[in-house]
């Protein structure tokens, strides 16, 4: 399985990354080398083996539905690069 520069461009778009021409070429090469190394996994018989996504046994950890302390809007917005009043400002997304 080899990945070409067009696929790298597609993955970069999915990942919301913009790559320079130099990065496109280097990442294509490096991702191929990494993925080639990772082909070893295909030899493992995993038939009927459930995946592990998490190692803790807990499911649906719940708490009482009570209001606790939380950040104020101005605290929550304190790190925003651009804001107006109590909102984040971003480039226009609807015309």
């Amino acid at each position: 399985m080899r990945i070409n520069t067009e696929e790298v461009d597609h993955v970069a778009l999915l990942a919301r990354l913009e790559l320079t021409e130099e990065e496109r070429v280097r990442f294509t090469e490096q991702l191929n080398s990494i993925l080639e190394h990772f082909q070893a996994l295909s030899e493992v018989d995993t038939g009927g083996v459930p995946p592990t996504f998490h190692v803790v046994d807990a499911t649906n950890v719940l708490r009482a539905d009570e209001v606790g302390p939380s950040l104020s809007p101005s605290q929550a917005l304190s790190g925003a690069p651009d804001r107006v009043d109590d909102t984040f400002r971003v480039p226009r997304v609807v015309e």
Partner: protein
């Protein structure tokens, strides 16, 4: 009395309690040491002297007024810059967060404040904890105090270097695939990754959420237990932090292994593509023989799926990272591009292009690919199934053994720049530490002598929730083997190397 900066936390704690030393004096001693060596080591991204002085003075005042104090009150700590500290920059080693100060504290930071610990500064790290050398820090690499031409390891390299160079009394790091233990081994200090769910991750900037765990880096095993006592315990703000009782880990520190069964997994000495150095194997076997001579029952064992450690981890961790790091989009916090943008997607892409370094981009790319349509089954799903097989390997081994003992790293610290251009070689330096993260089990690295003047680490891996046995074996080795990190530091006048430990010992 030795210079206060050389003290362990348990030694300093005793002197503070008996008022032979004040928290202010201890802090000032550590700060003088930092002034002396930080220019060489670069263990910190930001020092926090105003905060530290206020904290130290508060402890001294509380003591003067007779208030009961925590054993760690007044102890100077280095905080890996991945832990959120309210109002203090928390950069994660990234341009993306260079000017960000969180509006809240991580749970462990909150608990340290309540205990009266003194925050020396935010320690250097590979960007977003992705790396094994701290060379991926956007703010420049840290250097290994034992040899300034070598890396301190990573990603908690700044924390490990700070402990080794006496630029703090204890440190805290995070470990996703070895990021506490590998730098601990390279710098000749003790580093523990607790069981997944033992320590709250609330306020730990997320890298790979099913693997990340916070833990101590210390000068000896006693300090490790002391700091774990503070860090461990349930937290309603982290639903994966389990509500289980926390033992007093200091009680586990006994020189006694007579009832223990110790396994040595052979795959950890012969991983394909990695040469485990002779001196490393020898150090592990010396530790094994020592335990055997003290009454432990020892035998070789096998963890058959170990050969898939690197591909499994380097698919799962980047996949989780690609999702976690989607939040850095120039909207809610952190960096935003200053270039003109055509639309919001263009803003995201330019922001992330400028804000992230090469390794972070590489892992986001790898993770996004592994999760993308058509490749999910072949990569992410497959790796997650192999992860199950690895957990079963450990479950089987722990039917026979109480602990497993392995090298922490295949080699001692490598040279700066040596592995930067070859991601696979860099990834392979984590081969001995990753499995404990995939299985969620505790593992400690402790100093096990030196080769060519460079520290070596031995790793002890235990059953889930059994930090006590891991600490007991480590303590036994430290006491019986004479391998404490402090002794190693005292022995640092080595073979004409430019080493900070040497410069200080020689009065420089």
């Amino acid at each position: 009395m030795a210079a206060p900066f050389t003290l362990t936390a348990h030694e300093a704690s005793g002197l503070l309690a008996s008022r032979q030393l004040s928290a202010r004096e201890l802090l000032e001693s550590v700060q003088e040491r930092i002034a002396q060596v930080e220019g060489e080591v670069h263990a910190y991204i930001n020092l926090t002297p105003e905060v530290a002085i206020a904290q130290a003075e508060a402890v001294d005042e509380a003591r003067a007024s007779g208030s009961p104090l925590h054993p760690l009150a007044g102890i100077p700590i280095a905080l890996k810059d991945i832990l959120c500290t309210k109002g203090l920059p928390t950069t994660c080693g990234s341009r993306m967060l260079e000017h960000w100060a969180p509006p809240y504290d991580a749970t462990v930071i909150d608990w340290m404040k309540r205990a009266g610990m003194v925050f020396v500064g935010k320690a250097n790290m590979d960007e977003f904890a992705m790396g094994s050398s701290t060379e991926n820090s956007a703010f420049g690499p840290s250097r290994n105090p034992w040899d300034l031409e070598r890396v301190p390891g990573g990603s908690s390299g700044g924390s490990a270097a700070a402990v080794a160079a006496d630029c703090c009394t204890v440190a805290v790091g995070s470990d996703t695939g070895g990021s506490i233990r590998q730098p601990a081994a390279f710098c000749g200090v003790v580093g523990l990754k607790p069981t997944y769910g033992r320590v709250s991750r609330y306020g730990l900037v997320a890298f790979a959420s099913s693997l990340d765990q916070i833990g101590p880096l210390t000068k000896d095993v006693t300090d490790c237990a002391l700091l774990l006592n503070l860090l461990a315990g349930p937290d309603p703000l982290d639903s994966t932090c389990m509500d289980r009782p926390v033992p007093d880990y200091m009680q586990a520190l006994r020189v006694d292994v007579r009832d223990l069964r110790v396994g040595v997994p052979r795959e950890y000495f012969e991983y394909e593509g990695v040469r485990v150095e002779e001196a490393v194997s020898r150090a592990v076997w010396e530790a094994v023989r020592l335990l055997e001579s003290m009454g432990a029952r020892v035998s070789e064992t096998s963890l058959p799926h170990s050969r898939y450690i690197i591909p499994t981890y380097y698919l799962i961790a980047p996949a989780e990272a690609s999702s976690n790091l989607a939040r850095y989009d120039g909207v809610a916090y952190g960096y935003r591009t200053e270039r003109a943008v055509a639309d919001i997607v263009d803003m995201y892409r330019k922001t992330r292009d400028e804000g992230f370094g090469a390794e972070v981009k590489r892992r986001i790319m790898l993770g996004t690919y592994a999760l993308s349509a058509g490749y999910y089954d072949a990569f992410y799903q497959k790796a997650s199934q192999v992860r199950t097989l690895m957990r079963r390997d450990f479950a089987r081994a722990f039917e026979q053994f109480d602990v497993l003992i392995t090298p922490t790293t295949p080699t001692p610290a490598f040279r700066m720049g040596e592995k930067v251009a070859d991601p696979i070689q860099m990834y392979l330096s984590d081969v001995c530490t990753i499995a404990a993260n995939l299985a969620g089990i505790p593992a400690i690295s402790l100093p096990a002598g030196r080769v060519g003047g460079l520290p070596l680490g031995v790793q002890i891996i235990g059953k889930a929730w059994d930090e006590e046995t891991v600490l007991r074996v480590a303590y036994t080795l430290e006491q019986a083997g004479g391998w404490s990190g402090r002794q190693a530091i005292a022995l640092a006048e080595v073979e004409g190397r430019r080493a900070v430990v040497k410069a200080a010992a020689g009065g420089g």
